[in-house]
């Protein structure tokens, strides 16, 4: 399937996000699902549409062949699928990921934090530094957009001189 209309591509990406959000619900990761639905399907789509409105609606026809990118994508995909062969089964209590700090977080949250949602206690308390870093990243993104799109206001006279 080949699509050069970027509006349609943005809508397809949005649908893909919504589908993966429902996949997260099936996997019992409701917090991630909520984020994916709000950010992936909602906000990113709006931003893609806004960018398309600022640039062009149709993708340019590329001059070169897509052979090399295809090889890279197929090889990476094959390597990733090969990597999943050793993975523990879904929900396996003996999986390494459940042997690390996760067990302690689940065990200690009721006594140490007292918050019923373990995800919140991990994000806000046990991993508070990380979340502070994330908020700073989001803040930086906002400042970046302000500097790039809003701050630059040349007067019309000057703008006409610059071709």
């Amino acid at each position: 399937m080949r699509m050069r209309n970027l509006l349609a591509v943005a809508m397809m990406t949005s649908i893909y996000s919504l589908l993966s959000a429902s996949l997260f619900v099936v996997l019992d990761a409701v917090d991630v699902a909520l984020t994916e639905a709000a950010v992936g399907a909602g906000f990113s789509t709006i931003m893609m549409l806004a960018t398309i409105a600022l640039t062009a609606e149709q993708e340019k026809v590329p001059r070169h062949r897509a052979l090399l990118p295809l090889i890279v994508v197929v090889t990476t995909g094959a390597a990733l699928i090969y990597g999943t062969l050793d993975m523990p089964h879904y929900g396996d209590p003996e999986a390494p990921i459940h042997k690390h700090v996760a067990a302690a977080y689940i065990h200690d949250t009721p006594t140490e934090i007292g918050v019923p949602n373990v995800v919140t206690s991990v994000l806000a308390s046990y991993r508070g530094y990380d979340t502070l870093g994330e908020v700073t990243v989001i803040f930086t993104a906002g400042v970046g957009v302000l500097v790039l799109l809003v701050g630059r206001r040349r007067n019309p006279e000057e703008r006409r001189r610059v071709p």
């Binding site: 409701v30 917090d31 699902a33 909520l34 984020t35 709000a38 950010v39 909602g42 906000f43 709006i46 931003m47 806004a50 960018t51 409105a53 600022l54 140490e112 934090i113 007292g114 918050v115 019923p116 949602n117 995800v119 919140t120 206690s121 994000l123 806000a124 308390s125 508070g128 530094y129 979340t131 502070l132 994330e134 908020v135 700073t136 989001i138 803040f139 993104a141 906002g142 957009v145 302000l146 790039l148 799109l149 809003v150 019309p156 703008r159 006409r160």
Partner: protein, 148 residues
């Protein structure tokens, strides 16, 4: 899109509900799914819907770009401020249990405050980004009119 009646009525109907849902996700984040980040995004998408369907000026009358700029800094400030407050009260940076006499109460208070900081920053940054894109779009259009 202002002259599309169905879209306008539905938007006006849903705007308060989206805001209410954002607040629910925010304050219920300790008990169910959600938290500051998700609530911020939901609130921002509500405002963006409003600005898209009705008018940018209407949305900017509710929250002006200058207010948003202050709010996005205030959110980070609240978060880091809670960290320093727990340091001043004898704990480590972001160690919430020293914030109140009861450690569990302190944790609750700390989590609520930092989630509010996250909420403020995320919501105002996302709305600011949208405002920025729309402002640039309009600028480009007035440019083209100048050239013609």
């Amino acid at each position: 899109m202002k002259d599309l009646v169905v879209l306008r009525v539905i938007t006006k109907l849903f705007f308060p509900l989206i805001l209410l849902f954002a607040l629910y996700v925010q304050f219920h984040g300790d008990f169910g799914p959600g938290g500051g980040f998700q609530a911020g995004v939901i609130l921002a998408t509500g405002f963006i819907l409003y600005a898209m369907v009705l008018d940018l000026e209407h949305a900017q009358r509710i929250v002006s770009p200058a207010t948003l700029r202050n709010l996005m800094a205030l959110g980070v400030l609240i978060y880091a401020g809670v960290g320093f407050e727990s340091m001043f009260m004898g704990g480590k940076f972001l160690e919430y249990r020293v914030l109140a006499d009861n450690p569990l109460l302190g944790q609750h208070l700390g989590i609520m405050l930092i989630e509010f900081g996250v909420f403020l920053t995320v919501a105002s940054v996302l709305i600011t980004i949208y405002y920025g894109f729309v402002a640039r779009h309009r600028e480009n259009h007035t440019d083209q009119e100048h050239h013609e």
